[in-house]
Symmetry: C2
Subunit: 85 residues, 2 copies
């Protein structure tokens, strides 16, 4: 049986990941990356990778899922920023 | 003694929170909120509050710290969006 708090975590993961994806899609569509700071995204990316390591340590499925998707998205934004700067 | 993974979590918390704060500061300074989607920020805010509940359940200091600061910041952006729309 899935723990009540794991469901809370999964809903949290879905909401915060889903609220980040429109930014990724918009950047992909418009190729406009002026609004994005490279330093900020690199910091964010490293932070997310560390959250992922921490989530693996805690054996937290919601943290592992959310941070894997967000890390890939952030890496994609960094790639777009470098390509279309 | 502080656990090695708690330090990883604290660095993660610092990086992801710090990468969110310039957006808050920029919005406060410029009062320009066109780039912000209210729906997205409300979704994000609810997600962060659920991460906070999940973090309290896991007794994770990094998650409690990061999500408290981010929840307050997101609430502030929602307030700015409603006030200056």
């Amino acid at each position: 049986m899935i723990d009540f708090y794991e469901i809370i975590g999964l809903v949290a993961a879905t909401l915060t990941t889903a609220s980040f994806l429109p930014q990724v899609y918009k950047t992909y569509q418009t190729k406009q990356t002026e609004g994005l700071s490279l330093t900020m995204y690199v910091m964010f990316f490293i932070g997310i990778v560390l959250w992922l390591v921490y989530g693996i340590h805690l054996k937290s499925i919601p943290m592992i899922l959310a941070n894997t998707i967000t890390a890939i998205s952030a890496l994609f934004l960094i790639f777009m920023k470098i390509k279309y700067k």
